[in-house]
């Protein structure tokens, strides 16, 4: 039994702290994946010609064709926000669980 508890598996969290930590990880990765790759697949689904033109490319946003703005500018902003959000969540979790940072 004492040997059994030393296991780490991202699909089988070990303990309360890790359970919450891993749920945050999946949350961030899901948003990250859907925004990055889901958007490209969406462009593909709604396209009216093989070059990928659609209402998403016709739309003007801040001067940009919408798809160009979303990928070229917004995704990087989203990445930074996701990182900040993740860090705030983990900091909060560590504080709640009394996991002081060890240097």
């Amino acid at each position: 039994m004492s040997e059994d508890r030393y296991h780490i598996n991202i699909f089988k969290p070990n303990g309360e702290f890790q359970k919450t930590e891993i749920s945050y990880i999946w949350l961030i990765l899901a948003i990250w994946g859907i925004a990055t790759y889901g958007f490209q697949i969406l462009l593909r689904i709604v396209q009216r010609n093989p070059q990928g033109e659609s209402f998403l490319t016709d739309m003007n946003f801040l001067g940009f064709p919408f798809h160009y703005w979303f990928t070229g500018q917004f995704l990087i902003i989203l990445f930074i926000l996701l990182c900040i959000w993740f860090n705030i969540m983990i900091d909060g979790l560590e504080d709640r669980m009394g996991k002081g940072d060890v240097a």
Partner: protein, 518 residues
């Protein structure tokens, strides 16, 4: 781009280079720990600037704008791959790597998988990745030396390397870290200010040209859409804007994914986490690093779009050969004063230098620390390790010169290969090493060897091959398929062989993941 000697830019470049060395000398490395971890006292923002400066290479500074200039929306896959990888790195690995507390990627792999063979393979892989990536910097260095001094390629390669080596060996990593913040300032100011000038000249919103270029992209898709060129219709302005005008959806996704896992698997990126005092700082330094990198990557597409509009207005066709110099030519075309173009060139060279020095240090570390100290001679004294490290950095610098003088593929392809190797070997090994305690040395070794072999195979066999398999696994974007292949090789082989020792699993739980058992 004429290549004659230019006095103003030359003076600025020399001043910047002397400042780098001067700052380096002011912060000599005291001992091995200092040399590697640079005092651990540089704070979150400082560490973030170091991450960004270490990261931003000639490929980011010059190559990316060049690719965007030629390929438009397709090349945004580079922008997203090279930033999105940091999200994965942060949520899956950054804190854990810091808590594991090792200096190099090979150290982590050797200790986690309790195997000297795994350590050796990881060290050699790290050396291959670092050298390949360093070779990729030389096109940028040479192009800028050529523009400023009128030097031919071969001379610039040798002079450039000599300066980098002198700087590394004199200052060690403490100097490098301090330097990196200074270098970041030079790089980013040199990159951002000329854009304002260019946007104003073309009549776009110039206060924030990163937003103003949107209208330039719009114009390329509408006002200038009809400009077809004899140079081949892939350079047509309309295709520049269309999502799949140049590359297919699959190619976009495969490329982006490869660059993401490659970023999260580059040894010199992974080893940045040791220069911060604790895990919380390690995590926050990624945020700052990503923001600082973002400043550059928001601006590259703007250079590219403005350059295409300049072409359309002047009625000239985009020229492939000029693409890598597009940042400087766009500024020159807009009438930016020559001394400022010199500053821009200095920024490009700083970007290349900071990356090359980071890479050579990582490779030198792999030789002196991972191979010499941990495998060959565990009783080596501090001074002899320091010595080996310096000799290694010097020797590796010479190897880089030789390959840079005669590259075995296009520079951009060589860089892409470094990412594919990192993504297909180091990344899956770290991922399983941290997140699956059952993964063992047999699995790790099998996974890394399969990753290495298949990456090399598809690079050399798949290049220019129309076979369906080569289309499925594009030679520079192989990770979408090969990273999972290497990952599952590790999982399957690990499952068929005995689990790792209780000690390492205990360490993984208690130390790396901070689980407290009662």
């Amino acid at each position: 781009m004429e290549s004659s000697f230019k006095l103003g830019p030359a003076i600025i470049l020399v001043i910047v280079l002397i400042a780098f060395i001067g700052i380096g000398v002011g912060h000599k490395a005291k001992d091995q720990d200092d040399y590697w971890a640079a005092g651990r006292g540089i704070g979150r923002i400082g560490a973030g600037a170091a991450i960004a400066s270490n990261w931003m290479s000639a490929a980011s500074f010059l190559g990316m704008a060049g690719l965007l200039y030629l390929k438009g929306y397709f090349a945004l896959a580079y922008v997203i791959g090279w930033t999105g990888g940091y999200v994965m790195l942060l949520v899956l690995m950054a804190g854990q790597i810091r808590r594991f507390g090792k200096y190099t990627a090979a150290d982590f792999i050797g200790d986690r998988f309790e195997s000297q063979a795994a350590r050796l393979i990881a060290a050699l892989t790290a050396i291959i990745i670092s050298l390949t990536y360093a070779i990729g910097q030389y096109k940028g260095i040479a192009m800028m030396f050529q523009w400023v001094f009128g030097m031919p390629y071969a001379t610039s390669v040798i002079v450039g390397t000599a300066v980098v080596l002198a700087y590394i060996i004199i200052a060690g990593m403490l100097g490098a870290t301090k330097n990196m913040q200074f270098q970041y300032c030079i790089i980013i100011t040199a990159f951002i200010f000329p854009l304002i000038f260019i946007a104003k000249k073309l009549g776009y919103f110039y206060l924030i040209p990163e937003i103003g270029y949107g209208s330039a992209v719009w114009d390329l898709g509408h006002k200038f859409a009809g400009v077809t060129t004899a140079a081949g219709d892939s350079l047509e302005n309309l295709k520049y804007v269309q999502p799949w005008g140049i590359g297919s959806t699959y190619k976009w996704i495969a490329l982006c994914f490869t660059l993401m896992v490659g970023t999260a698997g580059l040894p010199h990126v992974l080893s940045r986490f040791y220069v911060v005092p604790n895990t919380r700082d390690a995590r926050w330094s990624v945020v700052w690093g990503l923001f600082f990198i973002g400043l550059l990557y928001w601006s590259s597409p703007a250079y590219a779009a403005f350059a295409r509009v300049q072409n359309a207005i002047a009625g000239v066709q985009p020229v492939k050969a000029l693409a890598d110099a597009i940042v400087v030519t766009a500024a020159e075309n807009a009438g930016l004063p020559q001394w400022f173009c010199g500053y821009l060139a200095a920024g490009a060279i700083s970007a290349a230098f900071s990356t090359v020095s980071g890479l050579l240090l990582a490779a030198g570390g792999a030789v002196s620390h991972d191979i010499y100290y941990r495998i060959v001679n565990p009783n080596a004294s501090e001074s002899s390790r320091m010595m080996v490290s310096k000799v290694a950095v010097f020797g590796l610098g010479l190897i880089v010169i030789i390959f840079a003088l005669k590259p075995f593929a296009l520079i951009a392809q060589i860089v892409a290969m470094a990412f594919a190797i990192a993504g297909n070997t180091i990344f899956p090994t770290f991922l399983l090493g941290i997140w699956w305690s059952r993964s063992n040395k047999q699995g790790c070794i099998a996974g890394m060897l399969v990753g290495l072999f298949l990456t090399a195979f598809f690079f050399f066999w798949g290049k220019g091959n129309s076979h369906w398999l080569a289309q499925l696994i594009p030679f520079t974007s192989s990770s979408l398929i090969l990273m999972p292949v290497a990952l599952f090789t590790n999982i399957i082989v690990s499952s068929m062989t005995p689990p790792p020792s209780k000690e390492i699993r205990k360490f993984l739980c208690e130390q790396v993941h901070g689980i407290e058992f009662d």
